[in-house]
């Protein structure tokens, strides 16, 4: 039986994390998590407060993530943490105070490389009643900021990290984890959504300063409602650039989506069918812009949906 995380006491959550019986249910996945320390505990209690959890292990879990010290010494002396998703990953040990980052990195690695019920494409996804917008871009291209911005204009969060494309039809499945914000995007999104929605900043991480924009309760409540794609965007933020949208033909869109998939090669033929199916009847654009306002104007022009 699942309950909202915020009904449990800090000690109950601490014990479940220590015992390895803390199960987080989100979108199509269940995650069995374990770890220690106040940094992880405080992050989960704050950023995952509205998520459905169980304090006993589920029969079947998609992800099993343990946040562990890299060795006995680093458990006690200048404690460090590293994500262990159950397979070898090149994860750098982080100070225990950066447990939030280790947790999010661990979940991303687990879903990217281990969850093969969907074609996973590195992309932000939001949706309204007309369908989903998939935004695929390399890190730093403005995907998270645009995702966060669109949430303020009637879209619901599917994911900031993964477009999960169904293997039995080109349908996108929600996985509304917190939105990861890096460096200068933190104040931009903070101004957009307010202080209460942003986690404490993890300072000086290997990725620079990191904070997380908590998923909204109403988006979490709809995490079992998939959507068809209505638009595919390849955002490109560049300071000072004139806003421009360039329509891509389906083959160009596929050429960009295939390398952005983390499990295309593993899935093979079903992944080919899923991605070609997704692109069929969906327009795709490369958009370049120098500000969030410009990016929203471009989305307005392309969708015809008034936002600003």
């Amino acid at each position: 039986m699942t309950s909202s995380l915020n009904i449990f006491s800090k000690e109950e959550i601490r014990k479940a994390l220590k015992d390895g019986s803390f199960t987080l249910h989100l979108g199509p996945f269940s995650h069995l998590l374990s770890g220690r320390g106040d940094a992880l505990l405080d992050f989960l209690i704050d950023t995952y407060r509205d998520n459905r959890v169980e304090m006993s292990p589920s029969d079947v879990t998609d992800v099993q993530l343990s946040l562990e010290a890299p060795n006995v010494l680093r458990r006690f002396f200048r404690p460090q943490v590293t994500p262990n998703p159950g397979f070898e990953v090149p994860a750098m040990p982080l100070p225990l105070s950066m447990s939030a980052l280790a947790h999010e990195m661990g979940l991303n690695l687990s879903v990217a490389l281990k969850c093969c019920r969907f074609v996973n494409v590195h992309a932000g996804v939001v949706a309204d009643d007309e369908g989903a917008i998939v935004m695929s871009a390399a890190s730093g291209a403005g995907k998270s900021t645009l995702t966060a911005a669109l949430l303020q204009y009637g879209y619901r969060l599917f994911s900031d990290e993964f477009a999960l494309i169904g293997l039995d039809g080109p349908i996108l499945h929600p996985y509304p984890r917190p939105i990861s914000l890096k460096q200068e995007t933190i104040p931009v999104v903070r101004e957009m959504v307010g202080d209460n929605w942003i986690s404490e900043v993890v300072k000086g991480s290997p990725k620079g300063d990191i904070a997380y924009y908590r998923a909204r309760k109403r988006d979490l409540a709809r995490d079992q409602e998939p959507a068809k794609a209505k638009l595919i965007l390849f955002p490109n933020f560049e300071k000072g650039v004139q806003p421009i949208a360039h329509q891509l033909n389906p083959a160009e869109a596929i050429m960009r989506l295939v390398p952005a998939s983390t499990n295309y090669s593993l899935l093979g033929e079903p992944a080919f069918r899923a991605i070609t199916g997704l692109v069929e009847n969906t327009r795709a654009y490369e958009i370049s812009y120098g500000s969030t306002t410009d990016s929203l104007r471009l989305v307005e022009q392309i969708t015809g949906k008034k936002m600003l």
Binding site: N249, P250, A251, I254, M255, V258, Y264, S265, G268, E269, F272, R273, T276
Partner: protein, 104 residues
């Protein structure tokens, strides 16, 4: 294994059960099952594997048939272009060739 292609004793073939294809405008997206790789082919490259999946042909037979199929002349599609394209498709595994004994 890739071969030079310019050999009248070689017969070229392709197996359409080994790939999936989708056409977008003038681009064909081909998923090759044995390698798990996806290839983007222009009309000529796809035309070659399409023709060869219907009928095994020598380079000369293929040259003739491809001109006929796409209403091209020998100047439009020189044999050297055909040979180099076949070599690339051979490397990708999308076509293969075998040597046949010449009649005495």
């Amino acid at each position: 294994m890739a071969s030079s292609g310019d050999d009248s004793s070689q017969v070229w073939t392709s197996d359409s059960s080994q790939y999936l294809s989708v056409m977008y405008d003038d681009t064909h997206l081909v998923y090759f099952k044995p390698s798990g790789e996806t290839h983007f082919l222009n009309f000529l490259s796809f035309g070659l594997i399409d023709v060869l999946s219907e009928k095994s042909l020598t380079i000369d037979g293929l040259h003739e048939l491809i001109q006929d199929r796409f209403s091209l002349t020998a100047d439009d599609i020189p044999k050297s272009l055909l040979i180099s394209t076949l070599a690339e498709l051979d490397l990708a595994g999308l076509v293969s060739s075998k040597r046949v004994k010449e009649k005495l």
